[in-house]
């Protein structure tokens, strides 16, 4: 150490870096900052990202013709990725807040190509208004966060679901991979652009190791975030996941069996009651009851034949009149007690639900 001014300069840099990494509100390490990549590398990464964007545009045009709400959905999904990537998540090991990528969620919901497209929009708005990422590093950020993160998350989720893994676990792994793959590619991009005449591997390893204190726990947190999201949506609004073809809610074997048993039972009851009703009518004449075949017969043998009843309900509309009276009095009682039976009961249910909440 010869020059004291230079020494002070380097120490100032060291302290300011530590300050910015440890004490600022959020460690915005997700994207490569504006101006860091040299022009050829910036151009190269943009060219790598371009085919995915073109494919995305073609797919959107096609899908928008089939489903007119697809474009608004993508716009809103870009807003979701933006908002999620602005959520501060505490990283205990680094003592800072960082933020998730959000691409895992979009890849699961709208597929990898659409997720790349959506990420490009979120990155553009972040670069413009938050100086988070940049125009010159837009291509590199799309490749790391969009292409790498989305593809890793999507395939992890799909493979795990095919292997019948639970929804939470599939989402968790997808979230972790979306984050970690993003960082591995970011490290690769930085190292390949900045290694100069030195070998590539040591710089790549150094950057990767530098990311570990924040990104290792952050990846796990992103896993929980993605898993929590997918489970929450599947519980509250399974129709969304069905509509987006994320999960097909086919009934399980047990549920199918239960439903089959229910249907069989219902059919058996219906058929048997129909048969009973029919047979009763058919057999009514040939099989008289005990009263007629035994009691009446014995009574007649002893000279005591049956009298006509004092109130003969088989005559005229008397039976109908009695039914009418019963219906009127029943209706009156039901109307009188309606409030007690139904309205107050519902109020009680609502109160109970509110208390539970």
């Amino acid at each position: 150490m010869n020059n004291p001014i230079l020494k002070k300069l380097v120490l100032c840099l060291l302290l300011s870096t530590l300050y910015s990494l440890l004490f600022t509100d959020a460690a915005f390490a997700m994207h490569i900052s504006e101006g860091i990549l040299p022009l050829p590398w910036a151009g190269l990464w943009f060219l790598v990202a371009l085919p995915f964007l073109i494919k995305g545009i073609f797919d959107i045009k096609k899908r928008a013709k089939e489903n007119s709400s697809f474009k608004p959905l993508l716009g809103l999904m870009a807003a979701v990725v933006f908002v999620i990537s602005c959520m501060p998540v505490p990283v205990p090991t680094a003592g800072t807040c960082s933020h998730p990528a959000g691409t895992g969620i979009s890849a699961i919901l709208v597929g990898p190509v659409m997720s790349i497209f959506v990420t490009s929009i979120a990155l553009f708005i972040q670069a413009l208004f938050l100086a988070h990422g940049g125009f010159t590093t837009w291509g590199a950020d799309i490749v790391s966060m969009g292409v790498g993160g989305s593809l890793a998350a999507y395939f992890a989720f799909k493979i795990l679901r095919r292997l019948k893994a639970p929804l939470f676990f599939s989402g968790f792994v997808a979230g972790i991979l979306a984050d970690w793959v993003t960082y591995i590619i970011t490290s690769f991009e930085l190292a390949s652009a900045l290694h100069g005449s030195k070998p590539f591997l040591p710089l790549f390893t150094t950057i990767l190791v530098a990311f570990i204190p924040t990104q290792l726990p952050l990846g796990i947190l992103e896993g929980f975030l993605t898993a929590g999201m997918i489970v929450f949506v599947s519980k509250r609004r399974p129709d969304i996941l069905s509509q987006l073809s994320v999960v097909s809610f086919q009934p399980s074997v047990k549920r199918k069996m239960k439903e089959k048993i229910k249907i069989l039972l219902f059919t058996f009851l219906a058929v048997s009651s129909l048969l009973l009703a029919g047979s009763r009518k058919l057999l009514a004449d040939s099989w008289p009851g005990v009263d007629v075949s035994v009691v009446e017969k014995v009574a007649e043998e002893h000279g005591r034949s049956a009298w006509t009843p004092f109130i003969n309900t088989d005559q005229g509309d008397l039976l109908l009149f009695v039914f009418l009276l019963a219906g009127i009095s029943g209706g009156f009682v039901l109307g009188y007690c309606w409030r007690k039976l139904f309205v107050e009961k519902d109020d009680l249910k609502h109160d109970k639900r509110d208390i539970q909440r």
């Binding site: 600022t24 709400s69 608004p72 969620i105 100069g196």
Partner: protein, 258 residues
């Protein structure tokens, strides 16, 4: 604060910079960014950064807002500077003893690092200049003029429109979760943040259906009509001449200092 930083509220104000056509500013900013990345010395990008900040100062953009926007990229840039110092070069300038290891910093690495730092400062200040003086709708209309695909522009407009709404909804849910001790320990925080993301997705899905319905009612036919680029005014022509002169001067300086 977030709205002040994030929205284009400064760009909506009337002043001599916001009145310049977005196409001229877009070309100037992109060309100057390319020049910054090509420059071999630090002082040219630093000069561009100072000029951009001074221009923004004349339209009374608060310095703290600029500083907040600078903080994130500068944090990353400073890390890169440190990596450059300790990994590149032959002439040692500093030795740091850390946990039994001796790290040697080099002069060449420091120069390279400072060049990257100056490039970051310049390009970020140019982006801040563009976003503080051009509303997004005009910027996207200018992008459309330069043949950026209409689908991309349309979805970007939709995304920008609904970001603020989603921000509000998410913050309401987050406040409710906090009130119910949703972040009182690690396990609850993890659960709450997953539910928060889920709530955002559900809200976005429902809103997209409502937007589609509203757009259909307003005669939407698979293409949003955004304000087409207007004719250049005499003021725009003057601005174009000044920007070109400024850029050519920078270009000459850049080639002379190589």
């Amino acid at each position: 604060m977030i709205k002040e930083i994030f929205s284009d509220s400064f760009a909506q104000k009337e002043n001599y910079l916001t009145n310049i056509d977005a196409r001229i500013k877009l070309i100037f900013v992109i060309a100057t960014m390319v020049l910054c990345l090509l420059s071999a010395k630090s002082f040219l990008p630093l000069g561009i950064a100072v000029a951009a900040i001074c221009f923004l100062g004349t339209i009374k953009v608060p310095f703290r807002v600029m500083l907040v926007r600078f903080s994130a990229p500068l944090g990353i840039a400073l890390t890169v500077v440190l990596l450059q110092i300790f990994l590149f070069g032959k002439s040692p300038i500093i030795k740091v003893h850390l946990f039994g290891y001796t790290l040697v910093g080099y002069m060449e690495g420091l120069q390279r690092g400072l060049l990257i730092l100056s490039r970051v400062t310049a390009t970020v200040s140019l982006v801040i200049f563009l976003s503080m003086t051009t509303p997004l709708n005009k910027l996207l209309a200018a992008a459309g003029y330069f043949k950026v695909p209409a689908t991309w522009i349309e979805i970007t407009m939709l995304a920008y429109r609904y970001i603020f709404m989603l921000f509000e909804d998410v913050s309401i849910v987050r406040d409710a979760q906090k009130m119910r001790l949703g972040y009182s320990n690690v396990a609850r925080s993890l659960r709450s943040i997953g539910e928060l993301a889920g709530a955002a997705v559900i809200k976005a899905y429902d809103q997209s259906l409502a937007v589609q319905e509203a757009m259909m009612l307003r005669g939407y036919k698979e293409k949003v009509i955004y304000s087409s680029a207007a004719k250049f005014t005499p003021g725009d022509n003057v601005a174009a001449v000044i920007f070109t002169a400024f850029f050519l001067t920078l270009l000459i300086i850049n080639f002379n200092i190589r």
